[in-house]
């Protein structure tokens, strides 16, 4: 699941603005921030998120909310810390990052279970259709159904969903992208366009098994690539296996890692121990 962390970091980083110090003058409320009162970080952070005038506000909002989570946990106020995680879900764009934040919120405050389950149920409804499209994309690419496969893959939401599935399945995203792009290229070069048989020009009416396929259609160039694509299709399709051996052979035996506040701080690249806002920057002492 190490790959999962990279994936999460990438997904969060792609949706988060850099933690640039707000150039606007420090609000008097910002000057009041202190670790003894993490609720203030939470409240200000939520207000900042509501203000969509300047993109930099988002950075400040994130800074505040991550600190709210960090310091609330330090002070044993897990309810506030949990609220901070939930507030952050409004910012992140990737579904997986949102899931991760909700997991952390639940871990910090188990009383949020009903909300967590409601979120999951909503997510299932929303992503089901996207899962179908993403699965169709992988299928089309593997069976050289061009231009369909390439067109689907070029859609940002489909691509994002495929990559999320890869992260969820512990699959290296870069490897997956490489294989998909290779298969698309092979599909473009495949003169039979994904058909089993082509016309024999030397003998009208006769059909030939397409000689361009060194392996069977839909079987990729090698077993590793096939494993990669099938594994991702399994995640999208919700396929389950019972056998441990089969699961291990499909690399479905990665470690399960629990979310932690320390990971949140690292993933959002916030120096949370610098708790005080002075002269438009975050400092460690007041």
């Amino acid at each position: 699941m190490k790959l999962a962390w990279i994936g999460i970091a990438w997904l969060m980083g792609a949706t988060v603005f850099a933690s640039v110090v707000q150039e606007q003058g420090a609000d008097s409320e910002l000057a009041d921030l202190s670790p003894e009162n993490p609720v203030l970080y939470l409240e200000l952070g939520e207000l900042e998120l509501l203000d969509d005038v300047l993109s930099r506000d988002r950075g400040l909002g994130i800074e505040l909310l991550v600190r709210a989570v960090y310091w609330a946990e330090q002070n044993g106020d897990n309810s506030v810390a949990s609220s901070g995680c939930i507030a952050l879900t409004e910012i992140v764009e990737s579904d997986m990052a949102r899931l991760w934040l909700w997991d952390l919120a639940l871990l910090l405050d188990p009383s949020r279970e009903k909300e967590w389950e409601r979120m999951r149920a909503q997510r299932t409804d929303v992503t089901q259709e996207l899962d179908l499209e993403a699965a169709q994309c992988l299928y089309a690419i593997r069976y050289h159904q061009q231009p369909l496969g390439g067109e689907l893959f070029s859609r940002p939401e489909v691509r994002a969903r495929i990559l999320e599935a890869a992260v969820l399945g512990g699959i290296d995203r870069d490897d997956l992208i490489r294989v998909l792009e290779l298969e698309i290229e092979r599909g473009n070069e495949d003169s039979c366009r994904g058909r089993l048989y082509i016309a024999d020009r030397s003998s009208p009416g006769r059909r030939l098994a397409c000689p361009d396929h060194l392996r069977g259609l839909g079987m990729c160039a090698n077993n590793d690539e096939l494993r990669l694509l099938l594994r991702t299709e399994m995640v999208l399709g919700g396929v389950e296996v019972e056998s441990w051996g089969a699961a291990a052979s499909m690399s479905m035996d990665g470690a399960i890692n629990m979310p932690a506040v320390s990971d949140l701080v690292r993933l959002f690249r916030v120096e949370a121990d610098k708790a005080f806002y002075r002269d438009d920057q975050w400092v460690a002492t007041p």
Partner: protein
């Protein structure tokens, strides 16, 4: 409405109540208004809060406080007048008009004059003082004379003195006593909270207009009644303090002789039924109360509840402060740091909401009418336990405190579950982890160790071993404790000088732990071979898995650890036969699992392409049948041939050829190339019933033929199961590992099911719920999160296994209070290691290792090693 409290008031009482000020809170106009209306309004508001769906929330309590505060302010006429200048009046929704009998309608001027007062007093005396009969008679009297009962009562009791002594507690050392609740005080305007419910009870009784009266009762107890009247006429001082337990108004209290507890209970309940209205009766009641305080341990839990309910009833029904002081004197407290009796402290706390903390400051808290002690449920014993737990945190280095504390603890041990040495452990732990050592700590440790049992398998031994390696315990305090243990306790096998040094490091303390284990192991370890074997096995596996483990090693280590854990569980269940059987299998190799032995090759040979081409171009059925038979020469169907075979099964012109192709497929089940060929048609834009039947038939899937998504899912699953993606050897090993783990977990469950870690976890939950417990929120949350992440059976196993580990840790810590810190250490270390690995099989091994460590703690605490 700009504050949370305003919003709360609006929620519970309506927006009109939240406009500000006490009048609005109670819903009262400026006029007409009197004491009865205010009290009635207060009662109605409280009732409304209680009926609200959020009546049990802290917000509801805040609103209740606001209602009480408003009533208190308005009861003071002068203050009321001043408040009317600054705050708006209420909606007037609270009104007595139409809500109560005509007798209670408030008149602007009171009709209660001296003549009526004297008549009421005569009536009171004729009935023998304050009792049920007199209350009914007075109710009638008030109704007949068109005055409010509250006015009548207040008039009978008399004008209050204004010497400012009410509501005070005496500061300073010596006998700091706490005054109980005082009476209604119209002059000062403050109604002590504790008496509000008493007033309601009084008003309720007076409202009962029952018309019967017995002529014989008129002549009853004239003397007592006259004495009471004289006292009342004399205008007794309000706000008298409780005298000390030894004196009562300057007279030494005579404690009556010991009596049978049933007699004490009878007297208490009798007093509750007739009421206490005279000072002498109060003194007599207090004597009975003294007996209760001395002999309470003799009562059963249900009877103690009844006794406390009776005390509550008697004291709650007394309006006269002198009578109250007399009746409640047995509850006085001599020393706030060392209350004479935790029992008295608990009763006072329950009845009056008073509390004494270690600093000697008396805290007089607001008391809303509590649910009280429900007879028959042992609720008061649990309340006592709560007080003990609270007092444990007040432990000090004062030997006198410890002597008192232990003395209070002893009688509780036999009657309340959970009231055992663990209370001493808790109290001592507060000291051991605390700062500068007081002068008396040495003597304290002597008392502590002498109170504990140090025999084989005792909790004290495991507690001590836990303290030695607990980093929070200070070495200097621990040194004195171990010294006391060696010199003064009944612990055997310890020689003089075998103590912790005051500056010892953790490494040195670990060494000391080893000595302790060695000294105490010889008692029983040698005589218990089974336990010894378990301990030895665990120690070996701990050493073998101390460093980071590779996944390949984790498989076998995980199985070995799982086996010893299952054996430990069987040992705890006293299933010695199973344990011995399991021990014999400790060194059995892990199940090797089946190896498919076939390497997957999806490359297309010349023969493959040829067969596929020919299959497409043959028209004659006989030729096609022959061609199908020619496929037998191939060990495995080639990738292109597989596609061709599926093509024939779907689209051959001749139906019999289609059937023949289908038969050729079916005799080659689970061939990867055929599965992929079927997958190709499963994902087609247009699927037919024929396609679905072919796929379902090949993979033996019973799903809905119309559900293409389900068909495809099943196909993918079969593809994985076919072991297509590697040579099969590692798949077999992992399958063997799976079966070994399943076997170990089957032995842990009483049902012997095959659900692995899930089944074990579910049984733990069932056991927990049977004992009235529930799964901790954190454990449940962790399980949900892990299950959400899980993408296969191995990860799902880790999820349930981790939850089972957490439940085991909780169980061990609760059954062995002295092991709490060590259990935490095991779990924290496991949590750190789990984060450092990328393999689920290593995580499985780590969880099993943590379980084994916990079992080791349990075995140690039972005096083995």
């Amino acid at each position: 409405m700009d504050s949370q409290s305003d919003r709360d008031v609006a929620e519970f009482l309506g927006s009109d109540a939240a406009i500000g000020g006490p009048f609005a809170v109670l819903g009262l106009k400026y006029a007409p208004i009197d004491q009865a209306m205010i009290l009635r309004a207060c009662q109605l508001r409280l009732g409304r809060i209680s009926e609200h769906r959020r009546s049990q929330t802290p917000a509801a309590d805040e609103v209740r406080l606001a209602v009480h505060a408003a009533a208190s302010q308005l009861l003071d006429p002068e203050l009321r007048e001043e408040l009317a200048k600054h705050w708006p009046e209420g909606s007037g929704e609270i009104s007595l008009v139409g809500e109560s009998p005509k007798a209670w309608r408030v008149e602007p001027t009171s009709r209660l004059d001296e003549r009526l007062k004297q008549q009421a007093l005569t009536l009171l005396g004729a009935c023998g003082g304050w009792n049920t009969r007199s209350r009914k008679r007075l109710g009638q009297f008030a109704r007949m004379n068109q005055i409010s009962a509250a006015q009548l009562v207040a008039g009978i009791i008399g004008e209050q003195s204004d010497d400012g002594k009410q509501g005070e507690t005496r500061d300073g050392g010596g006998n700091q006593v706490v005054r109980g609740p005082s009476l209604i005080d119209p002059a000062a305007g403050s109604l002590p909270w504790a008496m509000i419910p008493v007033v309601y009870v009084m008003m309720g009784l007076l409202l009962i207009s029952v018309g019967y009266m017995k002529s014989s009762e008129v002549d009853g107890r004239a003397d007592g009644g006259v004495a009471a009247i004289k006292d009342l006429d004399g205008g007794s001082e309000i706000g008298s303090r409780f005298p000390s337990s030894e004196t009562r108004g300057g007279e030494k209290l005579v404690v009556s002789e010991r009596r049978h507890y049933s007699a004490i209970l009878f007297e208490l309940e009798k007093a509750n039924s007739v009421g206490v209205s005279e000072i002498e009766a109060g003194r007599a009641f207090s004597e009975i109360g003294e007996r209760l305080g001395e002999q309470w341990t003799e009562f059963t839990v249900e009877e103690l509840d009844r006794a406390v309910v009776a005390v509550d009833g008697v004291l709650g029904g007394i309006l006269n402060p002198e009578v109250f002081d007399a009746a409640g004197s047995f509850l006085s407290l001599d020393d706030p740091d060392r209350p004479g009796s935790v029992f008295r402290l608990a009763v006072r706390s329950l009845l009056f909401g008073t509390r004494i903390d270690g600093g000697g400051v008396v805290e007089y808290s607001v008391m809303s009418r509590r649910a009280g002690v429900r007879s028959g449920e042992g609720a008061f014993d649990q309340y006592l336990l709560t007080e003990f737990v609270r007092l444990a945190k007040l432990s000090s280095d004062d030997p006198a405190w410890w002597a008192w504390w232990i003395g209070q603890l002893r009688p509780m041990a036999d009657r309340v579950e959970g009231f055992d040495e663990s209370r001493i452990f808790e109290a001592a732990y507060w000291r051991l982890t605390n700062g500068r050592i007081g002068d008396g700590w040495t003597e304290c440790t002597k008392q502590i160790v002498q109170e504990l049992e140090w025999r084989e398998g005792s909790a004290a031994r495991s507690w001590m071993m836990g303290l030695v390696v607990d980093p929070k315990v200070r070495s200097d305090r621990l040194a004195i404790l171990t010294q006391a243990m060696v010199v003064h306790s009944s612990a055997k096998g310890l020689e003089v000088g075998m103590v912790v040094g005051k500056d010892d490091s953790m490494a040195e303390r670990e060494a000391y732990l080893g000595k302790l284990r060695q000294r105490w192991a010889t008692d029983r370890g040698a005589s218990d071979g089974v336990r010894g074997q378990l301990v030895e096995r665990i120690e070996l596996l701990m050493r073998m898995t101390q460093s980071p483990t590779r996944p390949s090693q984790a498989l076998s280590r995980g199985v070995e650890l799982a086996r010893v854990n299952s054996a430990c569980l069987a040992y705890q269940r006293n299933d010695e036969a199973s344990v011995i059987g399991m021990i014999q299998l400790f060194d059995t190799p892990m199940n090797s699992g089946q190896v498919s032995g076939k390497a997957l090759d999806l490359s297309s040979s010349a023969g493959d392409e040829l067969w596929a081409t020919k299959a497409r171009n043959l028209d004659d059925a006989d030729e096609l049948f022959a061609h199908l038979r020619a496929m037998d020469q191939f060990d495995v169907v080639g990738p292109k041939s597989a596609h061709a075979l599926v093509y024939l099964a779907m689209q051959a012109p001749n139906l019999q050829v289609r059937a023949g192709a289908e038969r050729a497929m079916m005799v080659r089940r689970d061939e990867v190339a055929i599965l992929i060929a079927l997958d190709r048609i499963a994902g087609a834009k247009r699927t037919t019933r024929r396609m679905a039947e072919l796929i379902h038939g090949y993979i033996e899937f019973d799903g809905d033929l119309g559900d293409a998504a389900a068909s495809r899912r099943a196909l993918l699953e079969r593809l994985v199961l076919a072991g297509m993606l590697d040579g099969g050897s590692s798949t077999g090993i992992v399958d063997g590992y799976w079966r070994s783990m399943e076997e170990s977990y089957r032995l842990r469950t009483r049902s012997g099911g095959d659900e692995g870690a899930k089944g074990y976890f579910n049984e733990q939950v069932l056991g927990l719920m049977t004992d009235g417990g529930e799964v901790p929120g954190q454990t449940r949350a962790g399980l949900l999160i892990r299950l959400r992440q899980a993408r296969g059976p191995i990860q799902e196993f880790v999820a349930y296994q981790a939850a089972a580990l957490e439940l085991l840790a909780t169980d061990v810590a609760s059954r062995h209070p002295g092991l709490g810190a060590r259990v935490d250490r095991v779990m924290n270390e496991n949590s750190d290691k789990m984060k450092q690995t990328v393999d689920a099989v290593v995580q499985i091994m780590l969880n099993e290792r943590a379980m084994a460590e916990l079992w080791m703690l349990v075995l140690e605490s039972e005096g083995v090693s």
